[in-house]
């Protein structure tokens, strides 16, 4: 029977002081006792509103019930049928604004820890002997997937299960998209991503790295010359934005993408064993307050910064980072400067960053995004001494593919335009999903888009 306990079962975490110097995962995961104990808090509601909060509509009470009953294979089956990347989403979904926000228990108590439970089941599954037998393609229509982020990976897996020969083309030398180069190891161990990719390969999915569609191969040539019947575009939103303030090109200024890529993809934390360096001084200011900013500042501490700061022009209420990341960052000693807007990056005569000139802000009326508009307080300028500035103020879709593909339409923010129902772009048999369509969003939305696009692609090809 469901048990009324106010608090969720705590997630064991590594000590904040220790972990802020290494890249080992912060959350250690539930064991079976904790998982069952937590699963018993679920009320198995008649009207499971939690499901409404989940972009891929996981039958949450069913898998939670299976855990409570100790039926792990059952839980795993339910989960994987709905979400192809459960070990990843259980770790990185902003649950507090999705499934857990809706959970009934949350109206009076702390909601059921759906994300932790999802992660537990997925981790259990990884420890089991391989299940699904490698299938032979049963359909003649080949599909090409552009980009190996969550959208592309999920779309590929679903299409392979539906019997299509599938090839993923990835521009970088390793697959995974933001899961590889953006989200750091201490939040999403690369071994988990590698395991998921291994499963896809077992399904017969081919992954060709070092191929940029639009440069190495034109999108049109995938059809005529290479014989693909359909293409899914999951190229993400990887183009970093700069603020346009003076000093952005000083030495010691990074985009969050560059900073994280140097560490996560190129292993700069292992320099000089790995050949790519990253330059961090004593004090690092990260501008922005999303997941990317939180990851960046925590990575900065781990690669040697003594002081890591978040500088954000709005207040903590408007922050878009996951609550858990914010809490972990506080525990690790990150400083938060809310209502602080950078106006200039200052440097010395050799061109190295020495400081960040900021102005204090106050909140005014809500703006278009519904969040309070920050307004500068006159005469409040001050200078923060810093050695590095990392800009984490958002990314846009990369225009590479658009520049070389005639007839592929995008909106003024560079996002691909697709039909809501079918995910088809302005080009026939070219479908798209994930950040390339929505602009920077979440892993589960990208995965969900990949999954539903796979269904429509299959339908279209078999019609």
């Amino acid at each position: 029977m469901p048990l009324k306990r106010v608090d969720k079962t705590p997630m064991p975490e590594r000590d904040a002081v220790l972990r802020s110097h290494d890249f080992i995962e912060v959350n250690e995961g539930y064991n079976i006792q904790r998982a069952r104990f937590e699963a018993e808090r679920c009320l198995r509601c008649q009207d499971p509103v939690c499901i409404d909060g989940c972009p891929v509509k996981i039958p949450i009470p069913d898998f939670v019930h299976a855990i409570a009953a100790g039926d792990m294979p059952g839980a795993a089956k339910i989960l994987r049928a709905a979400n192809p990347l459960p070990a990843i989403c259980g770790r990185v979904c902003p649950q507090e604004s999705q499934c857990e926000e809706k959970c009934h228990v949350g109206t009076r108590f702390i909601p059921v820890a759906i994300g932790y439970l999802e992660r537990f089941v997925a981790d259990w599954e990884m420890g089991q002997p391989p299940g699904e037998e490698p299938a032979q393609p049963t359909r003649p229509e080949k599909v090409a997937i552009i980009g190996s982020g969550p959208a592309g990976l999920v779309c590929a897996g679903e299409l392979a299960r539906l019997g299509h020969p599938v090839t993923i083309y990835e521009g970088l030398h390793a697959p995974g998209g933001v899961l590889r180069y953006g989200i750091p190891e201490f939040r999403l161990p690369k071994g988990i991503l590698d395991w998921e990719i291994e499963q896809l390969k077992r399904l017969g999915v081919k992954i060709e790295c070092n191929v940029i569609i639009g440069k190495t191969i034109l999108l049109d040539d995938l059809f005529d010359e290479m014989g693909y019947s359909a293409v899914f575009v999951g190229t993400g939103a990887g183009l970093p934005q700069f603020m346009g303030i003076p000093g952005e090109n000083l030495n010691g200024v990074y985009s969050a993408n560059e900073f994280l890529t140097r560490v996560n993809l190129m292993n700069a934390n292992q320099f000089p064993e790995a050949d790519t360096p990253v330059m961090v001084g004593k004090s690092v200011a990260v501008i922005g307050a999303g997941n990317t900013a939180m990851d960046t500042v925590r990575v900065a501490l781990r690669v040697g910064a003594e002081k890591g700061m978040i500088v954000y022009r709005r207040s903590d209420k408007e922050m878009t980072a996951r609550i858990e990341e914010h809490e972990h960052a506080i525990q690790e000693g990150v400083e938060f400067h809310w209502l602080t807007n950078p106006v200039e990056i200052l440097g010395n005569e050799d061109g190295w960053v020495t400081g960040l000139k900021c102005v204090r802000m106050e909140l005014g009326e809500p703006d278009d995004s519904g969040r309070a508009r920050p307004l500068p307080i006159e005469g409040s300028e001050f200078i923060m001494p810093v050695d590095n500035v990392v800009l984490s103020i958002g990314n846009r879709p990369n225009p590479l593919l658009l520049q070389t593909t005639q007839g592929l339409e995008s909106n003024k923010k560079g996002c691909l335009i697709v039909e809501d129902e079918t995910a088809q772009t302005s080009l026939r048999r070219v479908f798209a999903g994930g950040d390339a369509v929505t602009g920077a969003a979440t892993v589960i939305l990208a995965a969900g888009a990949g999954k539903s696009a796979a269904a429509t692609i299959h339908e279209d090809l078999c019609a």
């Binding site: 521009g171 970088l172 030398h173 180069y181 790295c209 070092n210 191929v211 940029i212 440069k215 190495t216 191969i217 034109l218 990887g238 183009l239 970093p240 700069f242 952005e248 090109n249 030495n251 010691g252 990074y254 985009s255 993408n257 560059e258 890529t261 140097r262 993809l265 190129m266 292993n267 292992q270 320099f271 000089p272 064993e273 790995a274 050949d275 790519t276 360096p277 330059m279 050799d350 061109g351 990369n398 225009p399 590479l400």
Partner: protein, 283 residues
């Protein structure tokens, strides 16, 4: 992976490789580059496509050993694979047709002029290459280059071959009408100080000039912004908007300064690599 089919030492520090890369060769245009990675844990570094053979599916690249990765690459032999090779990246060089185009090359820049001048000659432009080096032995690819342009002008600092002096001095003479005569446009590829000097030489004469900027790069697809340069007071990403830019609009001071960002680390990595290979007896 790209298999090495041919290796030729051009100078003690410069090596030409012909590699198997059919997809890149099929798409390549003059002025574009590839990014390679030589070992697990290795850096991604950009290298210009010196030439390509679409039928054979091969690329020529010329590497000047300056640091860890270029040295590792230089030790690879025929039959070895380059671990990762991606391209073609960047935009093709866009030179107005029908005039007298002068390509100025120094260091590995000579290689970059190879397919470019070949294409310009083929479309009917009048073409001159000014190739410079400290001394005769360091002039590279002279046979190949003389075959792809109307006039090849060699310059050495010590006068051991051709014109005695810098490429810019010879360029200034051409602008005055000497030799093959005044250029309608100039393309300069080579070390930053050389490109800068060329830029100043053509600025006064108001001759349209392109330079190939070589900032540090990682992805080469516009994802990191590490390769940003300032041109005409705007931020540009050299990997997707370049690498060729209007020389007279480039902020060279900034470009030079940004390339020095990791000098200390690069040196320590090099020392470390030397030490590593000494300990294991391998490269």
């Amino acid at each position: 992976m790209a298999k090495i089919l041919e290796k030729r030492a051009l100078t003690p520090v410069t090596t030409l490789f012909r590699v198997e890369a059919p997809l890149v060769a099929a798409a390549a245009q003059p002025g574009q580059f590839v990014i390679v990675r030589v070992r697990e844990g290795g850096e991604r570094i950009p290298l210009t496509i010196a030439n390509y053979d679409r039928d054979a599916g091969t690329l020529a690249i010329v590497v000047q050993a300056v640091g860890v990765t270029t040295n590792q690459l230089s030790t690879l032999e025929v039959g070895d694979d380059i671990l990762d090779l991606v391209g073609p990246l960047g935009l093709a060089v866009d030179v107005p047709a029908g005039g007298h185009v002068v390509g100025v090359g120094g260091g590995f820049g000579a290689a970059a002029l190879w397919c470019l001048m070949s294409e310009l000659s083929a479309r009917g432009d009048r073409t001159t290459i000014i190739l410079g080096a400290r001394e005769k032995e360091l002039l590279i690819l002279t046979d190949e280059l003389s075959g792809v342009c109307d006039n090849l002008e060699l310059c050495t600092d010590d006068g051991s071959e051709g014109f005695k002096g810098f490429v810019t001095e010879r360029l200034a003479q051409l602008i005055e009408g000497a030799g093959p005569g005044r250029p309608d446009s100039v393309v300069a590829i080579g070390p930053m100080p050389m490109m800068r000097a060329v830029t100043e030489t053509t600025r006064e004469a108001a001759i349209a000039t392109l330079v190939s900027l070589d900032p540090l790069m990682i992805d080469g697809t516009g994802m990191c912004g590490g390769c940003r340069v300032t041109v005409n007071n705007e931020i540009k990403f050299a990997c997707v908007d370049g690498p060729f830019f209007d020389a007279h609009q480039v902020d060279f001071n900034e470009a030079v300064r940004r390339n020095k960002m990791y000098v200390a680390q690069e040196q320590s990595a090099k020392d470390r690599a030397v030490c590593r290979s000494a300990m294991t007896g391998q490269d």
